[in-house]
Symmetry: C2
Subunit: 276 residues, 2 copies
């Protein structure tokens, strides 16, 4: 299995601290040692991407050491640490996978494992590697392209369509997924995915995995809104756990659509501070 | 205008020294300060890519400083430093541009400027940015896809087809280009592009732009074959200058097809050693 991390914000922020937590779990405090990748979308509309990948474990990759030192301000970040099950440890099998569709740069990462994935019709979108993950991504792109003959003007509607297709993929195995076009971030949960939204007043948060703490008040402005979504909570904030086949869609920092009943029972008792 | 660099080899080698020369020309010894990018294909068949890009000048970008320190062994490298004419200085306008076609990862970089590029029909391949370069790339991909209904088994034939289309693009302005699928490297020259092939016995080479020298004999093995192609010679080796609308196709280090008449007149007297 693997782990996922997504960040959506209404202003370009540095995600190096939370990326550093994920990096620890990539071969040090977690077993996901078979490569990693991160995409930082850039610009107000997220048209450009700054992507780093490596086949070395994220905890000790030279490239991740470099990335952890840079701010790379971004309103939308998508990251993955890999624990390979299908496909060799190689660059072509390293998430996130990227494709252009309708003039947008789509990034996607998957946690899980699918059976019978070879039967998924990918149309004109061909996998570069051998993973079930990339085959599923290409199938999703083909579903989008063949269903919407013209590019949909409503990306929210499009993301909800993708969520229904993700629900189908989850019948083939385990399918936790992050997908983004640079503006919207779709998080689909089959088994394990949590999220939290940060708004003012900001306080200090304690990271998991011994990475330390961060004083959000010193980094964020009053009007900033930031959401994090990850395989498991990476801070002591009150993360919300998505349930099976739930999805959440984030836009400029806020969860704007969520299929989950976010009852208190779904809130994790994850750490030191529950009142942040 | 911009500058291009391509490397093709029959074995995975480090290209950091020659990349360092290009980096100097990106805002220091040359004016191409508007961002840069480099792709290192990986694996025997070049299915995977390791790509770095930045909008800062290559001469002083933190990411290029990092890249210059890493070996990143690769049999095929494609790099670009940008001097923006069309499109803002942004990640989406930074070369190389990348697309998947027929299950291969295509990378492309352009030096020049095209008129009436908006009229180029790109079909299902949409530019992410605003450059004439990316529009031309998408047009080339569309030409490939619509001409070859099934993926061609002979990539050499495909590259020669692309060269004929590049010749058309050069009627719209200046079109020097590098294109690769990870195995083959096509270099098309409108105005300025040179190449050199290194074979045993290897000697020392002196770089341009004050970057120093490199003892190739200490780095390469007897059977290694390496070709470099660049906007202008980056070493004192006897580079061969392509003429207008000439092209060269490289595979595993060798130039396997070249439209140029490589007469001695085309060989540049570029430096200290002519007998390497």
């Amino acid at each position: 299995m693997c782990e996922l991390l997504g960040v959506s914000a209404n202003v370009a922020i540095s995600s190096r601290k939370v990326f550093s937590v994920l990096a620890e779990r990539g071969g040090n405090s977690g077993p996901h040692k078979d490569g990693w990748g991160v995409t930082f979308y850039e610009g107000e509309q997220g048209r450009g991407c700054r992507t780093f990948k490596d086949t070395d474990p994220c905890c000790c990759s030279k490239t991740s050491e470099f990335v952890k030192q840079q701010p790379f301000p971004s309103q939308l970040v998508l990251a993955h640490i890999r624990d390979a099950n299908r496909g060799s440890v190689s660059m072509e099998n390293t998430h996130p996978f990227t494709r252009e569709l309708w003039g947008r740069c789509w990034n996607y990462a998957h946690n899980g494992q699918l059976d019978a994935f070879e039967q998924l019709d990918t149309g004109d979108h061909h996998p570069l590697g051998q993973t079930d993950s990339e085959q599923a991504f290409c199938w999703l792109l083909n579903q989008m392209k063949t269903t919407f003959v013209t590019p949909p003007s409503d990306t929210l509607e499009l993301m909800e369509f993708v969520a229904t297709k993700a629900a189908y993929l989850s019948t083939l195995g385990v399918f936790n997924m992050l997908l983004s076009d640079g503006e919207y971030l779709l998080a689909f949960c089959a088994t394990k995915l949590s999220w939290v939204t940060r708004t003012a007043p900001f306080a200090s948060v304690e990271f998991t995995d011994g990475v330390g703490s961060q004083n959000l008040a010193a980094e964020y402005q009053e009007q900033d809104v930031i959401s994090l979504v990850a395989t498991q909570p990476l801070t002591d904030e009150p993360w919300c756990q998505l349930q099976q086949n739930d999805y959440a869609i984030f836009h400029r920092g806020r969860c704007i659509r969520c299929s989950a009943q976010n009852s208190p029972a779904h809130h994790l008792q994850s750490g030191i501070k529950q009142d942040v």
